[in-house]
């Protein structure tokens, strides 16, 4: 390894993906050393975080040795050469079980990689294993499943959010610098909000879903979860792109998403959707204060912040629920009839609801969806980016079902699953009890670069990328 270039600063487990890849390319960091540092941390912390369903340590170390030899020979696979990544366990990794955190699929060995995993490997990333999720990305947190639910590294008694729970917890805790999650009603952005990391739900169709177990075909998105905005852009560049074998894949290609990140927000128009957290679902005062602080900061940096109105969160939520539960029923009907006892209670109740919705309900929801798309498009014709709440509360305790139920729907993420617009959630501050608070940015279709520009400006001003959970 080279020495003295100063590319590795601080503990390896909190090194960003971009910094790690840069240091590996400069031969200042060994992929094996990086992987071993993460495996050591997993050995220490995961017994109480429950991030992994299946840690594939031997394969990860073998891949790191190969990456090291390739780097030594000057052969870099791509922008993520040698960087560890965790994969939510509804996404196929060849040779490993895709359990969906459920007894139903406990022995479901994937024969090939999902397209998003294959693209990450092509970029040089190394898969560490499969991560906890809410059962089938809908039923959790649950204690009646074969694996325990993941815990929040900021406070293990609290929920890390879901359904991409292991992805959020593991990235925040420094078990890996990046992870794949999926988002049907907010499942990338919820754990990003609860765990204080950066989670992106890209434009519908930008990232292939082939090889990802479906929850709701027309609402499902695959998204990157990282500790920094730059890493999120880097990961999106690796996984975006048209897939002719995914019927929901968009014709758009991928882009250079980080290109505008350092341009600041001067002259940009930001629409602040205050009614989401002020009247639709009144947020905790600390959440509101943090959102106002983000808006003021961006305004002081030169953005023009103005008020924007959208349909109410209640309207968005009912459309999302009807579509999600109808489509999910079509996936799960046979198992719900034949093996109801193999589901956990939460997933069983949520999935069964689809049996009681009519075709008329489904059509009505999709018609309202068209009007909601028009409303968001209209707002985004007036402004460049929307700023709004993600969660209305900090993460609740994981062992209090009533609190989980109460906070489950108190969020502003589902609107953008309904409309398909790209949406990014990240930390806005810390609560008085030391738990992350969150903000969400939303942009026009396929304008993820604009999201990264605004999110990057907030990150730079606030230093949120340098705040880590007080563990280990």
């Amino acid at each position: 390894m080279n020495a003295g270039l100063g590319l590795v600063d601080g503990p390896l487990h909190f090194l960003s993906a971009a910094a790690a890849a840069h240091a590996i390319a400069a031969r200042e960091l060994s992929p094996v050393e990086l992987m071993e540092a993460h495996l050591d941390r997993i050995a220490r912390l995961d017994p109480t975080l429950n991030v992994f369903i299946n840690l594939d340590a031997d394969a990860a170390l073998a891949a790191a040795r190969t990456a090291e030899a390739e780097a030594a020979a000057g052969r870099l696979r791509g922008t993520l050469h040698g960087v560890p990544v965790g994969i939510k366990d509804i996404i196929d990794v060849a040779g490993l079980a895709t359990t969906c955190h459920s007894r139903i699929l406990a022995d479901n060995i994937a024969t090939s990689d999902a397209v998003c995993v294959s693209k990450l490997r092509q970029a040089g990333a190394i898969v560490m294993g499969k991560l906890s999720t809410h059962e089938f990305a809908i039923g959790g947190p649950s204690f009646d499943l074969p694996w325990p639910p993941a815990r929040n590294p900021w406070n293990r008694d609290h929920h890390p959010g879901g359904s991409s729970s292991g992805s959020g917890s593991g990235v925040a805790a420094g078990l890996f610098p990046m992870a794949l999650g999926t988002d049907t009603g907010g499942s990338v952005r919820n754990p990003a909000s609860c765990c204080g990391i950066v989670g992106l739900k890209p434009t519908y169709g930008l990232v292939s879903r082939r090889g990802v177990f479906p929850l709701s075909f027309s609402l499902d998105h695959v998204g990157p979860m990282t500790r920094t905005v730059a890493d999120n852009a880097l990961m999106l560049e690796a996984i975006a792109g048209h897939d002719p074998r995914d019927p929901g894949s968009a014709a758009a290609g991928n882009g250079h998403y980080a290109a505008a990140m350092d341009r600041g927000v001067r002259g940009l128009r930001l629409g602040f959707v205050r009614h989401f957290h002020e009247t639709d679902l009144p947020a905790e005062p600390e959440v509101t204060a943090a959102l106002e602080h983000v808006a003021r900061t961006l305004q002081m940096m030169g953005a023009d912040v103005r008020a924007i109105r959208l349909p109410s969160l209640g309207e968005f939520a009912s459309v999302n629920r009807v579509i999600l539960q109808s489509e999910a029923w079509s996936v799960h009907a046979r198992w719900l009839r034949e093996r109801p006892g193999d589901y956990g209670r939460l997933a069983r109740r949520r999935l069964l609801a689809g049996a009681f919705l009519s075709a008329g309900d489904y059509v009505a929801a999709n018609r309202r969806r068209g009007e909601m798309i028009a409303a968001v498009n209209s707002a985004l014709a007036e402004v460049d980016v929307l700023l709004c709440a993600s969660s209305m509360d900090p993460a609740c305790r994981i062992d209090r079902p009533a609190d989980v139920d109460r906070t489950y729907t108190r969020q502003a993420r589902t609107p953008f699953n309904v409309t398909g617009h790209p949406a990014l959630a990240m930390m806005s501050g810390l609560s008085s009890t030391g738990l992350p608070l969150s903000v969400q940015f939303v942009a026009r279709y396929f304008d993820e670069a604009m999201l990264f520009r605004v999110a990057g400006a907030w990150e730079k001003a606030s230093g949120m990328d340098r705040k880590h959970p007080p563990i280990g």
Binding site: L336, A355, F356, N366, E371
Partner: protein
């Protein structure tokens, strides 16, 4: 939602076994569905079409 109607709909959906083993869950699910469908507003314009969920390139 009336219990007899829920049972009827559950049996029509092939959920006899589920009804026998997890009766309470079936009723909770039916109530959830009724609540969410009730909250669904009718489209403002009756000519509005559905969003084509499988054509994002054109639809978006």
């Amino acid at each position: 939602m009336d219990k007899e109607i829920v049972e009827l709909l559950a049996r029509r959906a092939g959920l006899d076994k589920t009804l026998a083993e997890f009766r309470e869950d079936v009723f909770v699910a039916a109530q959830q569905a009724a609540t969410v469908a009730q909250k669904l507003a009718a489209p403002v314009d009756v000519r509005v079409e559905t969003w084509p969920p499988m054509r994002p390139g054109a639809g978006l």
